[in-house]
């Protein structure tokens, strides 16, 4: 998995490539929580277009990001969900709790 950040005014977009599984989800959790809690970025956006697999530990990391954003009153946005990502959020019955867009343009405009 590779994760890189694009930082703009009050927005950070994380581009993730690969799988978010047991070996990688701690890193996703770490960068999300740092951006939200330490750096107080008001809008954190996750680009999932290149994420081919998310397991339950990856979903747990996303849920931690969601909970942190709710506590802080910030926004946590996902876009570009692959079939796998959408399926696991569906199975977890979490799809409706996340702010999800199809594209980066929509995520930034929303």
């Amino acid at each position: 998995m590779k994760i890189s950040a694009r930082r703009m005014d009050k927005i950070t977009i994380f581009d993730i490539t690969g799988s978010i599984d047991l070996s990688q989800s701690p890193e996703v959790r770490k960068v999300l929580l740092k951006e939200m809690r330490d750096d107080k970025v008001p809008r954190v956006v996750l680009n999932l277009t290149q994420v081919n697999y998310i397991d339950s530990s990856g979903i747990a990391s996303l849920v931690e990001g969601l909970k942190a954003s709710r506590e802080l009153g910030s926004r946590f946005i996902l876009f570009g969900l692959t079939t796998n990502a959408r399926e696991v959020l569906q199975i977890s019955r979490l799809l409706s709790f996340f702010e999800i867009y199809d594209s980066e343009e929509q995520a930034l405009a929303g």
Binding site: L22, S23, D55, L66, K67, T83, I91, S92
Partner: protein, 153 residues
């Protein structure tokens, strides 16, 4: 089961980095067996989550501990007709699981964790756990959809 043909046997270490290798192998095997794309993702997800549970819970995150994964094509026949399935068995020598706790948690509350078993149960037709001679044995079964000529019988 009338027939049991071994398709794949892997001896693994309990290192999280191996998960992506196993996912690739299982996804390919499922596709070769004739599962649909959605079913292949389900089988792969079940195996990945089961292995993750072994690494996290049975071996408590310790690396280098042995896990054996075997996949068989099984087939049984009854009055309802023949049914083919993929049988996946995972064996490890870690701490025993408590069968009473092997149920997916309620999904009403939004909180991290506890989703792995739910994912497995949603992804396969049968999940069976046994503790045999100091080893954990998890058996998963995913049925192939009946062939058209079998449906019409």
């Amino acid at each position: 089961m009338d027939r049991r043909d071994l398709l794949l046997r892997l001896q693994l270490n309990s290192n999280p980095e191996i998960l992506c290798v196993v996912r690739s192998a299982v996804a390919q095997l499922s596709e070769e067996m004739g599962f649909s794309a959605e079913e292949c993702r389900a089988v792969t997800r079940a195996v990945d989550e089961a292995l993750t549970n072994v690494i996290r819970h049975a071996y408590q995150g310790k690396r280098g501990k042995p896990i054996e994964l075997s996949c068989r094509r099984v087939e049984d026949s009854s009055e309802a007709g023949r049914r083919g399935a993929l049988e996946i068995v995972l064996e490890d020598h870690g701490a025993a699981a408590d069968p009473k706790k092997m149920v997916g948690r309620p999904l009403d509350d939004i909180r991290p964790g506890g989703l792995g078993l739910h994912f497995i149960q949603q992804s396969v037709d049968l999940m069976e756990y046994k503790r045999i001679a100091g080893a954990n044995r998890l058996r998963l079964l995913k049925y192939l959809q009946p062939m058209k000529h079998e449906v019409s019988r």
